[in-house]
């Protein structure tokens, strides 16, 4: 019953100049508890919009999203969000960022401190509690954002290109971290990415979205996330299944982009 159910979701924006943008059209899907979903698609196809509706930051024009049978009507602690970048509170220290949610709830300080230490340990930042956040690298900041979200124990974790701004190596490590957390906590995770490889590695399920209007184009069920828990990601990427799927999705997205650009000449 603790599923995420999206039913005929439509989202239309009206720009200040009066133009109507159909960002999402008839998006319906069901995400079961504990599933790991990655969403892929060309720029502007409505991924962020979808995530924002699920998070409760936006109200859909029509249709509804339900979590655990309750319709989503605003932001809530049951859905944690990790942003692409810049959403940390730079005036706070690492620990103050991580325990922000608990402090807002008025939780017991000693308990909170213990939890913070645990989470810092998990994301590999033990001992950084008193460091001001602005002094940390981009990768470290994303790990704090992850810890800040997870310490609240949300049912559903939403990530909007959380690893987009990181270098290849850090990115790979973070991917393993996400997989590890997914396995250990069994949370439902919805992750948006621009990278096809990342979508394959982090997606038990994978939605490819198409633009104009934004809609679900194709859905995959993939074994790579499961495999990534035990195997070296580089070995997985070498398998034929992986590279075939990658090529298929890549050419699919290429076609969509070409359609947008008016048959680009590459």
């Amino acid at each position: 019953m603790s599923d995420l159910v999206s039913d005929n979701l439509n989202m239309q924006f009206t720009t200040p100049s009066g133009l109507v943008v159909h960002a999402l059209k008839d998006v319906s899907f069901t995400l079961k508890k504990g599933e790991l979903l990655s969403v892929l698609g060309p720029s502007g196809c409505g991924k962020t919009t979808l995530l924002n509706i699920v998070a409760g930051f936006l109200k859909p024009t029509s249709g509804s999203v339900e979590l655990d049978g309750k319709e989503i009507e605003g932001p809530g602690v049951d859905r944690g969000m990790v942003f692409q970048q810049g959403a940390l509170f730079e005036w706070l220290t690492v620990a103050q960022n991580v325990d922000f949610g608990l402090r807002m709830k008025g939780a017991d300080p000693t308990e909170t401190a213990k939890k913070v230490d645990e989470w810092l340990e998990i994301v590999g930042l033990a001992g950084f509690g008193d460091t001001p956040t602005y002094q940390l690298s981009g990768g470290m900041q994303q790990r704090i954002a992850l810890a800040r979200c997870l310490i609240n124990d949300p049912d559903l974790i939403l990530m909007d290109e959380p690893l987009g701004a990181l270098d290849a190596l850090t990115r790979e490590k973070m991917q393993s971290l996400v997989l590890k957390i997914w396995k250990e906590t069994g949370k439902t995770i919805m992750i948006i990415t621009h990278s096809v490889e990342e979508a394959l590695m982090l997606g038990e399920r994978l939605f490819v979205m198409a633009p104009r209007p934004g809609r679900l184009h194709k859905e995959y069920h993939l074994p790579f996330a499961e495999m990534g828990l035990t195997q070296d990601p580089r070995d997985i990427k070498k398998t034929q299944h992986f590279s075939e799927t990658r090529e298929e999705i890549l050419s699919m997205i290429w076609d969509m982009e070409e359609e947008i650009m008016g048959g680009g000449s590459l």
Partner: protein, 643 residues
């Protein structure tokens, strides 16, 4: 201690200047050496090139101080304290000889007589020409033209050697001889002999250069000074005798008498004639008054034959040469060490003119600062910054409004039959809220500086605590923005000083009005900066806070407020600057305390030293405020711009 420093100020300044020159030279050498060894991979435009460089700071500061010492003549006074007194005597000679010199083509182009002839004959010509256009009878015109011709010959005949007054030749000779003998005395090392004891005592009794203010000792104190003082006395007499001379020859007197009677005659006939049109009446009245005026100009015999003054002129030129030569090194000292002005001699005093006057000497400025910083002297009976003992009761009472006592039930005590008054609870409360009871005292700061500072602080305080919440509210709510924006924008663009006359009238010229004015200034700035800060909050941060379960209040307090802090602190920093400037101007406008008031009074009294003292105090306090704000900013928002 401070008296000793004041007495020794010339010596101190002399050493200080040498020190400054040395530090200037050394820091330049140091700077050039660093430049030579500097890494050359810093290309032009790299800001790292401007880092560090304390030696250039020393260079700049020494330079400014030296300029100040130099142009205020403090350097001159330090190295030659008697120079001003000597130059004062020189100035006396110059001012004594001036009435005589001005008759000769020495400081100007023409002999005075040449100028007079040119001017007066041109004027006669003009009157003659205007005759034709006037509505006059022909006979009148002819008569007037004849008078003009006579006036002209009375004018030019003065230049004719034939008509020159007989006694003049010898008198000119005598004047020339007196000047020559004075010149000889000037060159005589023994002239004028030793000063009398009384003279010396009087000279010694006078205060030194700048001891009591701006004046320069007027009585001579040095041999050179005595010589010039004596020469000045003599030359003044000669000049007086010379300017009294007149070329009033019998010929001129006869001409003047004749013209005078002709004008009178014509006027009398005109007065008697009753059928003259009003137009002609006016024209003739004006004509006769013009003729009379011309006669008055010409009749004093101020013109001499062209070469009659040659002797006196060459005597004056010789005197001039000696006058300059005798100054010797003093002349060079005046030119090089006392730039931008000179010393002028009046009737009873000598004074500095130019930069020596309006740019006070650093040593005197410091002296003035120390004088008015002395709490017993202060300025207008109020110290600059001091403290006074004030009972605590009054200060506590200030926090409670007096009407609280009225709320207490019951009546105030009434006197008893034996005239006693017993206090009750209601009267006790009243005593408490009015501070009417014995309490211990604590020291409280006071004075002009304190008054200015506290006005800024209070105005700023209210501006911040009211402006920031409103600004945040306006940044978050369409209603608040729309509703309050017109009110703020209605008064904000008006320069604060334009409000001052109105606000000071409404709220009073003392603290209340000024504080309210500063509040207005700070409030507008704080509203705008807090609003900018609030609208500048990244949406993703607010989203994050929402999904972390923060309430609206918590988001405001924990996300939007800290996020706006850089703008708010910058706003405070700007407010302080603007408030400070506005306050000083407002204090100049009205009131009886504050640094601006001090400066305004000093301006009215042309007390340049106090003006500079206030300028320095205002600058230092302004800098201090800004340094404090800078420290606060680096401390509280080190994360600024790094989000």
């Amino acid at each position: 201690m401070s008296e000793f420093l004041f007495e020794q100020r010339n010596t101190i300044v002399a050493f200080l200047i040498i020190g400054l020159i040395i530090s200037l030279a050394l820091s330049i050498v140091k700077g050039r050496r660093v430049m030579a060894t500097e890494r050359t991979d810093l290309v032009f435009g790299n800001p790292a090139k401007a880092l560090g460089g304390w030696y250039w700071i020393i260079t700049g500061m020494s330079f400014v101080m030296l300029i100040w010492f130099y142009f205020s003549w403090d350097a001159a006074r330090a190295y030659n304290p008697k120079a001003a007194n000597e130059l004062c005597q020189v100035a006396k000679v110059e001012s004594a000889i001036k009435p005589m010199r001005s008759q000769f083509p020495l400081d100007k182009q023409n002999l005075r007589g040449t100028d007079l002839i040119a001017r007066d004959s041109a004027q006669l010509e003009r009157i003659n020409n205007s005759l034709q256009t006037l509505a006059l009878q022909n006979s009148v015109k002819l008569e007037a033209a004849a008078i003009l011709t006579s006036l002209h010959s009375a004018l030019v005949d003065q230049a004719n050697p034939v008509y020159m007054k007989a006694s003049l030749a010898t008198e000119f000779k005598s004047i020339a001889a007196r000047i020559d003998s004075l010149t000889a005395n000037f060159n005589d090392p023994d002239f004028p002999g030793q000063p009398t004891v009384a003279q010396q005592a009087a000279a010694a009794a006078q205060p030194g250069w700048g001891d009591t203010g701006k004046e320069i000792p007027v009585l001579a104190t040095t041999p050179l000074g005595y010589r010039y003082e004596a020469i000045a006395a003599e030359i003044r007499l000669i000049a007086k005798d010379f300017v009294k001379l007149r070329n009033t020859s019998p010929h001129l007197l006869a001409q003047v008498a004749d013209i005078n009677s002709r004008i009178k005659d014509a006027k009398a006939r005109f007065k008697a004639d009753l059928n003259i049109s009003i137009e002609e009446q006016e024209a003739r009245t004006r004509l006769y008054s013009q003729l009379n005026k011309m006669l008055k100009r010409i009749d004093d015999g101020a013109i001499y034959p062209p070469n009659s003054l040659d002797d006196i002129q060459s005597s004056l030129v010789a005197f001039d040469k000696t006058h300059i030569a005798q100054q010797g090194s003093l002349k060079a000292f005046d030119t090089w060490m006392m730039p931008g002005g000179r010393i002028m001699a009046g009737n009873s005093a000598c004074s500095e003119q130019g930069s020596g006057r309006w740019l006070p000497k650093p040593s005197d400025t410091l002296g003035t600062l120390m004088r008015i910083a002395d709490p017993d002297i202060g300025f207008k009976d109020i110290p600059l910054l001091w403290y006074r003992w004030q009972p605590v009761g009054g200060m506590i009472a200030f926090l409670f409004p007096d009407w609280i006592a009225e709320l207490v039930p019951g009546d105030y005590p009434r006197h008893t039959q034996n005239g006693e008054i017993k206090s009750n609870f209601k009267s006790n409360v009243q005593d408490f809220v009015t501070g009417n009871y014995e309490s211990f005292s604590i020291p409280v700061p006071m004075g002009h500086m304190w008054d200015s500072i506290i006005r800024v602080v209070i105005g700023l305080f209210f501006g911040i605590i009211l402006g920031v919440p409103l600004g945040l509210f306006m940044g978050l709510s369409r209603f608040a923005k729309g509703f309050f924006d017109p009110m703020v924008e209605l008064y904000r663009p008006v320069p604060p000083l334009a409000w001052a006359p109105l606000i000071l009238t409404i709220f009073g010229i003392q603290d209340d009005g000024k504080i309210f004015l500063l509040f207005m200034v700070a409030f507008a700035i704080m509203v705008i900066s807090a609003r900018t800060g609030a609208t500048g909050t990244q949406l993703s941060k607010i989203h994050a806070a929402h999904s972390l379960g923060a309430s609206h209040r918590q988001i405001l307090r924990r996300v939007i407020l800290p996020n706006s802090l850089p703008e708010i602190l910058t706003g405070i920093r700007i407010s302080i600057g603007v408030c400070w400037g506005t306050l000083v101007a407002a204090e100049m406008l009205a009131g009886t305390t504050g640094i601006g008031f001090v400066e305004n009074v000093a301006r009215k009294q042309s007390d340049y030293e106090v003006i500079w003292v206030t300028i320095i105090i205002l600058g230092v306090l302004g800098l201090l405020f800004d340094l404090i704000m800078r420290a606060v900013i680096t401390r509280t928002i080190p994360w600024r711009g790094k989000g």
